[in-house]
Symmetry: C2
């Protein structure tokens, strides 16, 4: 049993940053890098990766976040803009690296650590995919970190995490649970303008609760039973 | 009462790194930067500093480490090469950033955080100036971090340190104490080949003990009394 961390850079703009990220990864013992629609990677990326050229060249390149996070149990999105500033539901609650480390101790699974574009970060719909939001506590005067610095700080913190025997739920099963819940909201004619926010809230609650496989199955059983009761009541 | 941190880059070779360091400093709320014989700082340094151009332009430029650390109570040298590898007395014991943070909690004073050259790190005689050695725990496979990444990780850890009322001893007084001790070693005809190592050992013990002003004065009083007794015994 172990915890595997995958660094996912979403549409990085500067190849020097991609190389620097590869170096920081190897510095802290990580090798699993995925790049979603990256900028062209040429000499500067290789130069900045220094002795981590193997990590850079071993990176998986994909066209979508979905492909980049295949096999991951949890998606963690790192953002410098937290909910406290914009009061956006999709950005809260945000965890700091130390809290994330504590939350993952004792678990086993694959964690995707996602980092957004250097200029715009994540799109709203991308943030909605995340199970947890991570933010590095920075100065209010200048909170925007260089991409590779952010990766270095997060990996520095996570490099000491102690895995354990508790398995994280399979992402596919969790997705089915969320779809099931979404269907239930439709069944109960939950107000459409609240539906997305409520679903996201539940996703984040499950994300920070770190569901185990048995819990997902039990919850789906509960949803099935609710749905069955509603159908039979309608018949009556 | 507060803890002030000064980042000192010793002979940095690449202006991009200097700019990146300025940015990482501002990200974590630090502004006191000193550069010892830096490379020329031009457009690339400004570009990499991004919105921390004020930190970059406000940097003190000196010709020596001594000038760069004026007013600092403690000198902390960061190195990726620790004693465990080379068994060099001057590199042990090395503290990790989390330990340094804990060690400084409750104190007040100015701490100089020194970072060596990108290629060669610190010279031996420079390491001997340090009160403490700091090292970032990295992978054995590729331990050499980018300079600005190392600064970012150290400042990330130290940004949350809680200062207190306990004053750190003045560096000048501590220097007088060390010179006094050195004189005593001569007085007792301490073997010359052991003298430097023993002095360094004591410097490091005092460094990690974080002496307060009263302790330095008391220790000097003890040394004076020892010397007086030795003189009077000789006379007898």
């Amino acid at each position: 049993m172990s915890l595997n961390f995958r660094v996912v850079l979403v549409e990085p703009l500067y190849q020097g940053n991609v190389g620097s990220v590869a170096r920081a990864m190897k510095n802290f013992g990580f090798t699993d890098l995925a790049l979603v629609n990256p900028c062209p990677l040429e000499g500067e990326a290789r130069a900045m990766s220094s002795h981590a050229r193997d990590v850079l060249e071993g990176a998986t390149i994909t066209n979508s976040i979905q492909e980049a996070v295949v096999g991951a149990n949890l998606l963690i999105g790192t953002t410098g803009i937290t909910g406290s500033k914009f009061d956006e539901h999709i950005r809260i609650p945000a965890f700091v690296p130390r809290e994330l480390k504590k939350n993952l101790e004792g678990y086993s699974g694959t964690i995707a650590l996602l980092f957004g574009r250097e200029d715009k970060g994540f799109m709203k719909e991308e943030l909605c995919m995340m199970d947890m939001i991570l933010t590095i506590p920075t100065s209010e005067i200048y909170p925007v970190m260089n991409l590779s610095h952010a990766v270095a700080v997060v990996l520095y913190e996570l490099s000491g995490v102690e895995a354990g025997e508790t398995p994280l739920a399979d992402a596919f099963d969790t997705k089915l649970l969320m779809e099931h819940f979404s269907q239930l909201l439709k069944d109960i004619e939950y107000p459409a303008h609240k539906k997305d926010k409520t679903e996201l809230m539940l996703k984040r609650i499950f994300g920070r609760a770190r569901l185990i496989p048995r819990e997902v199955q039990t919850l789906r059983g509960v949803l099935r039973r609710i749905q069955r009761c509603m159908v039979s009541n309608k018949k009556i």
